[in-house]
């Protein structure tokens, strides 16, 4: 088993410059910064339009020190395939390809290309940073916006539908590696990227990304909000290695503790959930409890 990375042995080399256009307290900026450390220098990035496009910089200045191809919204995974094919034809097997796309670019418009690439077994890492909405265009609902969240186009009733479970969709492609991470647990993200890097075919990593303007919390609380999602059992950290599901990191510890923070605390930490009623929260709490009862059962 791979030793867990600590802050002290995390690589010190930075691949992102300061002074980006990311919002103050951007959760993506944390995950991206640490994620690139895991990927390392010999990586080519593929990025569709998203907050990351802005974070990465406007011509002629790039905030990222890695080579990156900006591509159209729906084509991320296909473009990654094209770079891979080139590297293969050039015999450059030391260079990795990593796609970073938002939740809209993954769960909605980019899903077809992603499914195609995953089915073909293209050897790259796909990272979906999930801030649960179209934040770059001003906070509209996406496939992964959770039920009850008020967005610019679900302004009064909040989103009425459940969050799309993208990791499950990807797991259905029989991938060697699927993982769920959070910007609030950057070392877990680092270890998961490192773990899957040399696995065959497409690897999918989903990252929960707290977003101060989109979720409605003060920038300083970003890590706390992300952590609450995990500690309430609302968003789980896990990995699926060759089909085997396993909770990891903080979520794994929650199984041992047998104690979840009430999800109400998570909802009340953000203004986007302001319209959720006590009854609705209770219903969601029931869903979470049922899910965790299942985890506990497996643990016994």
């Amino acid at each position: 088993m791979q030793a867990k990375t600590t802050i002290l042995n995390l690589p010190t080399e930075e691949f992102v410059h300061p002074g980006t256009r990311a919002c103050t307290g951007c959760g993506l900026a944390i995950a991206y910064r640490v994620g690139l450390k895991a990927l390392g220098k010999d990586t080519i990035l593929v990025v569709p339009p998203s907050c990351l496009t802005v974070l990465q910089g406007l011509f002629p200045i790039a905030s990222t020190k890695l080579p990156c191809l900006n591509v159209t919204f729906a084509s991320t995974a296909a473009a990654a395939s094209g770079i891979l094919a080139t590297l293969k034809s050039q015999g450059k097997d030391n260079i990795k390809v990593a796609a970073w796309a938002g939740d809209g670019g993954t769960s909605d418009i980019g899903l077809q290309a992603l499914s195609g690439a995953a089915e073909r077994g293209e050897n790259f890492i796909y990272l979906c940073y999930d801030n649960e909405g179209y934040m770059n265009t001003g906070v509209q609902r996406s496939g992964t916006t959770p039920m009850g969240a008020v967005t610019a186009n679900t302004p009064f009733k909040g989103k009425l539908q459940q969050k799309k479970d993208v990791p499950a969709i990807m797991a259905a492609h029989n991938l060697s590696y699927v993982a769920a991470c959070s910007a609030a647990y950057p070392l877990d993200l680092f270890d998961k990227i490192r773990k899957c890097m040399d696995m065959p075919g497409t690897k999918y990593i989903h990252i929960h990304i707290p977003c101060p303007p989109g979720w409605g919390y003060e920038a300083r609380y970003g890590i706390k909000v992300g952590r609450l999602a995990v500690e309430t059992g609302y968003y789980d950290l896990y990995e699926i290695v060759n089909g085997e599901f396993k909770l990891t990191a903080a979520s794994e510890k929650l199984v041992e503790k047998r104690k979840l923070i009430p999800v109400r605390e998570y909802f009340r930490s953000q203004s986007r959930f302001r319209i959720l009623t006590d009854a609705q929260i209770a219903a969601i709490q029931n869903q979470i409890d049922a899910k965790w009862a299942n985890y506990y059962k497996k643990d016994e």
Binding site: I7, L8, L10, T12, E14, V16, H17, P18, G19, T20, R21, A22, T24, G25, C26, G27, A29, I30, R33, V34, G57, L58, F59, P60, I61, A62, S63, T64, K65, P186, L187, P212, E218, A219, R220, Y221, G222, I223, K224
Partner: protein, 104 residues
């Protein structure tokens, strides 16, 4: 002044700091480190560095003491919020004189 002879005819960006400008100007509050509370400072050994790990803007150094690059720090306050010993506090920018600001 034209750009006809610019090196590239495509949108081909090269990396460097400050794409968003001197983003330190975005700051409303400034992180201030109290070395007497900071773990690596107190122990004078590499330790903790949570502020470095969680900084979204790569402006905190992994040094003893950790240094904050105020030219680019946007003042999000995550470092202050996450510091286990409360060694960093967020202080209203208005409390720093113009003169001091220029010095930075």
């Amino acid at each position: 002044m034209g750009t006809r002879n610019y090196r590239r005819k495509t949108s081909h960006s090269e990396h460097g700091p400050g794409d968003g400008g001197r983003t330190g100007s975005w700051r409303v509050e400034r992180p201030v480190l109290n070395k007497s509370l900071c773990i690596p400072c107190k122990r004078n050994t590499e330790a903790c560095f949570i502020c470095w790990l969680l900084c979204p803007d790569v402006v905190i150094s992994r040094t003893i003491p950790p240094k904050i690059d105020l030219e680019y720090c946007k003042g999000c306050g995550i470092c202050a919020e996450e510091c286990p010993t409360k060694a960093i506090t967020m202080v209203d920018e208005a409390q720093f004189s113009e003169e001091e600001k220029e010095k930075e």
